[in-house]
Assembly symmetry: C2
Homo-oligomer: 368 residues x 2
Amino acid sequence: MQHAQFQQRLRDFRASMQLAAQDAALIFSSDNLRYLFNYTGEAAYGVVTADALYLITDYRFVEQAEQECINEQMSANVICRDRDKQSLGAAIAVLLHQHRVHRVWFEAAQVTVSIWQDISQDLSFCVLTPAPAVIEQQRKTKDAWEIAQIQAAAQIADQALAAIMPQMRLGVREADLALELDYQMQKRGSAGVSFTTILGFGARSALPHCLPSDRELQAGDLVVLDFGAVVNGYRSDMTRSFVAGKATPQQRAMFDTVYAAQQAAMATLQAGVAAVDVNAASSAVLQASPFAEFAGPGLGHGVGIKLHEQPFISPVCREHLGWHYVVTIEPGIYIPSYGGIRIEDDVLITDDGYQLLTHAPKEFELSI
Amino acid sequence: MQHAQFQQRLRDFRASMQLAAQDAALIFSSDNLRYLFNYTGEAAYGVVTADALYLITDYRFVEQAEQECINEQMSANVICRDRDKQSLGAAIAVLLHQHRVHRVWFEAAQVTVSIWQDISQDLSFCVLTPAPAVIEQQRKTKDAWEIAQIQAAAQIADQALAAIMPQMRLGVREADLALELDYQMQKRGSAGVSFTTILGFGARSALPHCLPSDRELQAGDLVVLDFGAVVNGYRSDMTRSFVAGKATPQQRAMFDTVYAAQQAAMATLQAGVAAVDVNAASSAVLQASPFAEFAGPGLGHGVGIKLHEQPFISPVCREHLGWHYVVTIEPGIYIPSYGGIRIEDDVLITDDGYQLLTHAPKEFELSI
């Protein structure tokens, strides 16, 4: 992580502030504090003015804040508030007065009504406006360091999956296999896991958010496994589908359809493509198949500091995929009470195509 | 979990609503949806009226909601909202109109400003008031089923610690040991972990929220290990402190002081005791020691669905500990750049004392 990268992020954000004639912005989101301030702790609030940066925290996190926010990458002012003596609103008011701030953005989607009621009563001298999602807009485009983190997370996930494949045998329980996978990712350096691992055997594979249970793997089961790793706060997200043994003609047809839908979507990828066109390419394959009515809604999403970030690739998405967006492409077929198949990869959008970040093999049949 | 327990919770909550002349309450907190509705999923909103219960969700979670909220324990009405066609506010308004509701509590501490702006514009026919923390107040007193879950979580934590003790040897890395502990808890049935395991060796043990690093265990190091398990949504929370080898006189004095402070606090426990008196008993021991200036602030907190619940036992707490509260008792000494010691147990408050829920041994010296 470089000083220049934080400077660029701040410059872009301040340009948006200026365009909207805002003198300051209050940042409540931990994701955005990481992105703008390099701060990864809790219980902190950011204040951005045209020429200064403040991070307000308390004795529990001040040491961490000073380490992360005052160094060669970042030079914020860290304020240690005594919570028994000064309200958060009062602490913010001092800074806004000092900078003669009048118009203020605040992250309305990131602060609760009760905290905001407390804060805003101290800020009656300002015009307070909910901030549009400009930081989230900036975060869509990943810089080289961010791409490297997602790549590292994806590689850990690839390797962890390879490590547990020998345990994917008849009789293994969903919960035990998921735990082994989580363990192998962390053993390889993942900070926790990207999200609660989704693992469903048999009919349970048709549940898009199937939490691992005591269900044991049986011959002929479909298997959906959706998981990811975390490196320096950046996430990966990958799904692989299997069948326990030799596929029936229907299972094979389902897999081939999903695979073809994913390939069709990927063939459209390049900087500037409309998200609806990517979705339509996948959808055309699914809708032309015998499984049209069982196709899942939505094709993918941005991934980065959050697991699910903008843009969301769907039939109603109005966005274009930009250069160095990182998105998932994950078509699926879900037949209730029978089973499901989903294949998901993370891709980096480039000028003339894409770069695949997840590399685990897509062999469908398990030899068990 | 019994039907009668949910009925009791709802009866108590509705009694509070009636006392405040509220016709309905909007529940946004996932913890409170679990507590009042038996719902453990995401993306759901509860509406409680004097004689009806509604859970509003969407296609992603409607199956789970129907399984959890319509059965012999619970009989809520589950509403599957089409998010493309109906706003959340409109869905709530339909119900409130139907029940001729006028005065409405909402969980202001659990909803963001932007979501609330969207919802409330559809509810202009109601008087909307932030709800006081009455559900959180109810949740302080644990029923028999809740106690059994916390006990089960505490037992898993005890057993997992015993399982990894042989790995607490010179050269082991904090991150590796913490991962093994997390793995052993989940292997024994913990659903994830109660919180990110805190593990610090040497001077790092003085950081109250020390995240595991690559630091290796060295002879003479103090070790602070703070962790917990989760069973059916209920958490445990325990800290043990060790020294790698034979304690120096100062380390031994630190440990004996913290242990004595914890025992002094526990000796005061029984239903009705003032939290300040529990705190004072511990504080007296710490303040009379050579480590007075290094004593940590705060002695403990409630634990249950959330890791940190009311009451918070501290010098400024105005509460009394009630029958069947479950709280932590966790005095600590933290000497910057040297090391820390904390001992923490979970206790159930009873009529004439307390019941210890965490049972891991408190042997200080590791034979390594």
